[in-house]
Amino acid sequence: MITNEVGADRVAVQFDDLAQQEDAATFAMWIFLATEVLFFGGLFLAYAVYRMTYPQAFVSASDSLDAKLGTLNTAILLTSSFTMALAVKASRERKFAPSARYMFLTVLIGSMFLAVKAFEYREDFEKKLFAGSHLAPGSSHGVAIFYSLYYSMTGLHAVHLTIGLCLITFFAWRTLKRKTSAGQIETLGLYWHFVDLVWVFLYPLLYLIGSQRK
């Protein structure tokens, strides 16, 4: 049995050792992420069905979105995943201060994503790119559905990202006080990478289907 001086590394009574405890934690996080796959999956399915029904409307609605901002945000989020991976690695090596620094950096980069998204939402609203503005007589039903999906999918993603930012800030602060274990940071990292994964699929489906791009 491995014992450790750090409180968060204490092995709970139901586990044989720390490795088994950590495996159980990552296993549980993956189960949660599998339910999240299906949570987002419903929206992706709705997207697939309506894109088949209104192919032209989806193309023209996507044309109005700013693909450059979408690409920038994808790069930002991939970068934050990278810094989070480094934070997990540092905590595995029991380097608390660098691990916390990487986590704060992740929070900073994640916040940049939200800032770009907020700026983009404002731009979209100024261009009247939302479902309600397309329901006037003669305008397209499919375009309205595209924007409904655009806001619900990116919105739900932003909610997940915000939760992630809060969690990482909390755990970075705990890491500074040497009160976290490598297993906890690993689990936290899994959640953050999942948020990145969802965006990896949102990006081409929402931003890169326009006809003006060809």
């Binding site: 599998a34 999956g41 289907i209």
Partner: protein, 107 residues
């Protein structure tokens, strides 16, 4: 594979996805962009999320998520795709409005 190399590959794939979206490949655009997205997802899962070195039990949970997602997509799309294959009897209500909001006559 190191984290830095994974990260660089991800950025390369992002650039590729953005570049390919300017080409007109017809249905190939969807195939290419989804292929690139899946490649990125695999890189993130295997290297950032450590699936490559995880216990097989954990890996099966990750695969299970994908399996259930394909059940969801498979069953629903079987319905929606096959609806267009046969004409509906004239008295049946039509299913979806077209782009202008009028009911569509399926062939």
């Amino acid at each position: 594979m190191t984290y830095a190399r994974t990260y660089l590959l991800l950025l390369l794939l992002l650039g590729l996805a953005f570049g390919v979206s300017f080409l007109n490949l017809g249905d190939g655009n969807l195939v290419a962009s989804m292929g690139i997205a899946i490649a990125k997802a695999l890189l993130i899962m295997y290297f950032f999320m450590h699936l490559k070195v995880s216990p097989s039990l954990t890996r099966y949970v990750a695969y299970a998520g994908v399996v259930w997602l394909s059940v969801l997509f498979g069953l629903v799309l079987t319905d929606y795709v096959s609806r267009r294959w046969h004409p509906l009897p004239g008295t049946w209500p039509q299913q979806m409005p077209n782009e202008a909001g009028e009911p569509v006559q399926t062939q």
